[in-house]
Symmetry: C2
Subunit: 506 residues, 2 copies
C-alpha cells in the first residue's frame, strides 16, 4: 500500500483507490468513454476488461474514443462483446475491423489532430468518463501519463468524471518527459510557442480537477509489444531510394545536411524506411512524429538522432526491454506531447517536416488510399497521415509495388478510395524507385509513376490504361468505365493481372 | 510625367520607366514568370499583351505562375497565343481550360497557400521575372500592390528581375491597406503573430531590392469586373438552410452570436450564400477570406461586418464604382494579405474559421469534387478550398442539387474526382437542405445526405445504389462496378436519370 501511495502524492486522493470492477460499475449504458492509449502504448488495461465482464451480465453499449489504436486486445474484446456503438478515431484490430466492415459498430475515421478540436468544441458526443493510464499523480493533483499522451488532456478536461489506472509496470522515469499543452478554444487562442522539436511549452502532467477523479485502479502490466516485422529486401530498397532522393535534395541546397525533422508513420514499412537511415551519412537528425518505433531508438543508439518528439512510444518486446532497461540514456533526448500537438498543422508547417507514411495503394496521378481495401473495407484508419502530408515540407508515401504475391498492384489507374489527393503528395516510393511529383501536372506525373514505381509486371497494363485515357483527353485523363476494372477483376478472378484474364476468356 | 513621378517616390527609379514593349522584350523563351493577380484583381495589364504581340513574331514558351485567376482576358490570350508551357496555381478562363484539357499546356493545381512555400524552397521552376501591378513605389523602394496581393511578395523576393506596372486607374487610397508578412523559411520561422482578423503584422508594401527593378510601365485600366450572377431562388434557399444551421449552432452554445470569422469561396453560389446573411440576425461579423466579392460590401453597408481581411477585392462593375467611389467609408474595415497568409493553415485553425466553398459534386459519403468535370476535365482548380476546409472550425460545401436542367445530379454514388475527403467535410448544403456530417460514420452520412441534400428526382436512385452497396458491406459500402455508372450514362445518354435509361433499353 505504501508503494501505491507513493504514486499518489496528493493525499486527498488516497481514498479513491478501488478495484477495476467497482470503477467499471460506474459506467452506464449509452455513455461515451475517453480512453488513453495511442498505437498500443499507454492504454488502460484493467477497467476495459471489467467492463467487458459486466457486459456478459447486462446489456451495455458505449462509445469509445481514444488516442489511436489500443493494445492488450482491448479492441478485440470490446468488439467480441458487442458493447461498442461508436469507435473513433483509429483502430488496428482484426476482430474489430471485421465488425466495422460488417456494419456492427460505427467507426469514425478522424485526422488524429482533429479529435481534440471536436471534443473541445462539443461537436461530437461529450465525454462522460475519461479512463486514463498514469504512472503517478503529483502533490497538486497532476496526472502523469505513461507511454503515450494521446487525447488524454482533452478527455480529462471535458469528462464529467475520471478514472485513473496507475500502472506500476511502466517506467517511473517517464515522469518529466511529457509536455502537456492545451491550445484552448479556436478564436481565443494564441500562437503555439513551439519553434524547435525540443521546446517545452506546457506542464509535465495533466492538470485535473481532483474532484472529478472518481476512482484510482492499480495495474502492473506492460504495454502490448508492437507487431512490426524486421526490414526485408524490399523495404531496404525503399529506404535506399528514399535516402537517394534526400541526398539529391541536400545536394541541390533544398535540405540541410541534417535534413529536417522527420515524421514516420506506424507500421513495419515506415519503420523499415527510417531504419535505413542507419546506413546513411545523415546525422544530428530530429524526429517530430506521432509514434516512436524501434528504428528511432536504433538511430539514437547509433548516435544519429539529436532529439525526438512524439505522442507515444511503441516498441517490440526486445526493444522495450532494451530501452526501458536503460532509460536514463534516452531521457534527455525525448519529449512526449498530446496528439493534437504532435500532429498540429501549425507546427508541421512551421518546422517543415519530412513526412513518411505508408500507402495501401496510389494511382498514376499520385492520389493515395491509406485506409480502404477495394474502396469499401476499412483497414485501420487514416491516422495522422493527413495531418502530416498536407502540411509537411515533403509528403512522402511508401508502399511495396505488389501485394498478395503479385496479384495486386499497389499502383492502379484510379485509387478505390482517396485519403490524400494529388495536391498533398510530393513523393511516392516503392522498392522499384521513387517519383518526385512536386510541381508536376497530372500528365507529367503518370509516366514517372508508371516507370519509376510500378512493378514491371504491371507497367504495360498501366501504360495501356493511360494511353487509352489520353485519347479521351482531360487534365487528369481517365476512362471511367475501366477506372476500377483492376479492383473488380481482383475480386472476381483473384488477380489484377490482365494476361490471366485474357487467357481465361480465350 | 509629374503625376507619374508622384507614384514613384524613390527617385532612383525614375529612369526605369519604360514601355510595355520594351519590358516584354526582356523576357526570354523558357523563362518562368511570376505575375500579380488574384481572381481578376490586381493583375498586370500591359506587359502580358506586349508579350503576346512579340510571340506573333518569334517562338516563345514561358511558365506563368500567378496568385490565382487573371482578368483582362490575359489567360485567354496566353492560351490562344500558345506561349504557355506550364501554368499554376489556378485559372478560370474558358479558352485556357480547353487547352489544358486538350493537353496543350500543363496546369498544376496547387492549394493556394502552398505555391509560396514551393517558390521559397526552390522546389518548382525558379522565378526569372516577377511582373507586378502596383499603385505606387514608396520613398524607400517598397512596392505597394493594388487590388490583390497574391503571391507577389514571394515572386518579388525570388525573381532575378522585377517589372512593375503602376496602374493609375486603381484607387490610390488602397495604400496603407496591405499587410505584407513573410513567414521565412520552414524550420527557421517563428509563430505567425496574428490573433485577430484585423491584426497588422507586416509592412504596407513589398520590400524589394530596387536594383532588381528593371522597368516600370504605366497603365490606366480598371480590373475586369467579376462575372458573378445575382442570387436566385435556389441560392437563396441554400443561404436559408445555412443560416438555419448556424442559428442552431449558436443555440447549442457552439458558436458565439457574432459567429466566427467567415471565409467564402469565389463564385456566384458562395457570394449568394454570404449575401443571405443580410436577412439574418447575425451582426458584428468578421471576414477572413481570400476574396471579397460584392456580398461582403453589401454586408458592410448594412452595418453587419465589423472587419474583413482578404487577399483580393473582386467586384462587379456596379459594385466597383460604388466601393471605390467612396472608399474612405470602407478603408478602416479592411486589410489585404498575401495568399499564403489569407489561406494559412496556422491562422485558419487558430481563428477557427467558418469556411463556405462551392462543390461541383459530392458523394453519399461526403467526399467533394471541386475541380474535375466527369473526373477528367479541369474546371478552374482547387483554389483555397483545401486550405480552408482542412483547417476550418466548420468546413461547409454548397452546391445546387441539380445541374444541366436536371440531367446531372450533384450528389452521386462516388465522386469522379476527390479534392476534399470525407475527413475534411463537415456540412454539405444544397437548396434541398443540409447534412451535418460531423462525428458521423459513413453509414450514418449516406442516408442523411440522400434525404437532406439530394434532389427528389434522384433520391430513389441513390437509395438503390446505397442499398445494393450495403449488401456488400464495408466501412464505406460501394458497388465498384456501378460507382461511376451515373457519369458514364451521362456521357453516353446525356442524363444521369435511370428511368430514361430503362425506358430506352426496353
Amino acid at each position: 500500500m505504501g508503494k501505491m501511495k507513493d504514486r499518489i502524492r496528493d493525499s486527498r486522493l488516497w481514498d479513491r483507490i478501488c478495484s477495476a470492477e467497482e470503477a467499471a460499475s460506474w459506467i452506464k449504458d449509452g455513455m461515451t468513454l475517453g480512453l488513453s492509449g495511442f498505437t498500443r502504448a499507454g492504454d488502460v488495461k484493467a477497467v476495459p476488461f471489467a467492463l467487458v465482464e459486466r457486459a456478459k451480465k447486462e446489456p451495455l453499449k458505449v462509445n469509445v474514443f481514444t488516442g489511436a489504436s489500443l493494445g492488450s486486445d482491448v479492441d478485440k474484446m470490446f468488439a467480441e462483446a458487442g458493447i461498442i456503438r461508436k469507435r473513433l478515431p483509429f483502430q488496428a484490430d482484426a476482430v474489430m475491423r471485421k465488425k466495422i466492415n460488417a456494419g456492427e459498430l460505427l467507426f469514425v475515421d478522424h485526422h488524429l489532430s482533429h479529435t481534440a478540436e471536436y471534443v473541445r468544441a462539443n461537436t461530437i458526443e461529450p465525454i462522460d468518463v475519461a479512463i486514463l493510464e498514469a504512472i503517478s499523480i503529483t502533490e497538486d493533483g497532476m496526472v502523469i501519463p505513461s507511454t503515450s499522451v494521446g487525447n488524454s488532456l482533452s478527455f480529462a478536461k471535458q469528462a464529467k468524471s475520471i478514472i485513473i489506472e496507475i500502472n506500476m509496470a511502466q517506467p517511473s522515469l517517464l515522469e518529466g518527459l511529457h509536455d502537456l499543452y492545451d491550445p484552448e478554444k479556436q478564436g481565443e487562442r494564441s500562437p503555439i510557442p513551439l519553434k524547435k522539436v525540443e521546446d517545452r511549452i506546457g506542464t509535465t502532467g495533466i492538470p485535473v480537477d481532483v474532484e472529478k477523479i472518481k476512482g484510482i485502479v492499480f495495474t502492473e502490466q506492460l504495454d502490448s509489444p508492437s507487431t512490426i516485422v524486421d526490414p526485408d529486401d524490399e523495404t531496404q530498397m525503399m529506404a535506399k531510394h528514399l535516402i537517394g532522393f534526400l541526398r539529391k535534395e541536400v545536394k541541390a541546397g533544398r535540405l540541410a545536411e541534417h535534413l529536417a525533422p522527420l515524421q514516420s508513420g506506424i507500421g513495419s514499412v515506415a519503420n523499415a524506411v527510417l531504419h535505413g537511415m542507419l546506413d546513411s551519412e545523415f546525422k544530428d537528425l530530429e524526429i517530430y512524429s506521432e509514434v516512436l518505433q524501434d528504428a528511432v531508438f536504433d538511430l539514437i543508439d547509433a548516435g544519429k538522432v539529436r532529439f525526438a518528439s512524439c505522442c507515444s512510444i511503441t516498441l517490440s518486446e526486445k526493444k522495450m526491454n532494451h530501452v526501458f532497461g536503460q532509460f536514463e540514456k534516452y531521457r534527455d533526448k525525448l519529449i512526449m506531447r498530446p496528439q493534437e500537438l504532435s500532429n498540429h498543422p501549425e507546427i508541421i508547417r512551421r518546422l517543415g517536416l519530412i513526412s513518411i507514411n505508408a500507402a495501401l495503394e496510389f494511382d498514376i496521378y499520385g492520389n493515395v488510399n491509406s485506409t480502404h481495401v477495394s474502396g469499401t473495407n476499412m483497414m485501420n484508419g487514416i491516422g495522422g497521415s493527413g495531418d502530416f502530408a498536407r502540411n509537411a515540407r515533403l509528403a512522402i508515401f511508401v508502399t511495396k509495388s505488389l501485394a498478395k504475391g503479385g496479384d495486386i498492384s499497389s499502383i492502379v489507374p484510379f485509387v478505390s478510395h482517396v485519403d490524400h489527393t494529388e495536391h498533398d503528395v510530393d513523393v511516392v516510393v516503392t522498392e522499384q524507385g521513387y517519383a518526385d511529383l512536386r510541381g508536376l501536372a497530372p500528365r507529367e506525373r503518370a509516366p514517372l509513376i508508371i516507370e519509376n514505381c510500378a512493378h514491371p509486371l504491371y507497367r504495360d497494363q498501366l501504360w495501356t490504361y493511360y494511353s487509352e485515357a489520353l485519347e479521351r483527353g482531360g487534365q487528369t485523363p481517365h476512362v471511367l468505365e475501366k477506372a476500377f476494372s483492376w479492383h473488380i477483376q481482383y475480386k472476381n478472378q483473384g488477380t489484377m493481372l490482365q494476361q490471366i484474364k485474357e487467357k481465361e476468356m480465350a
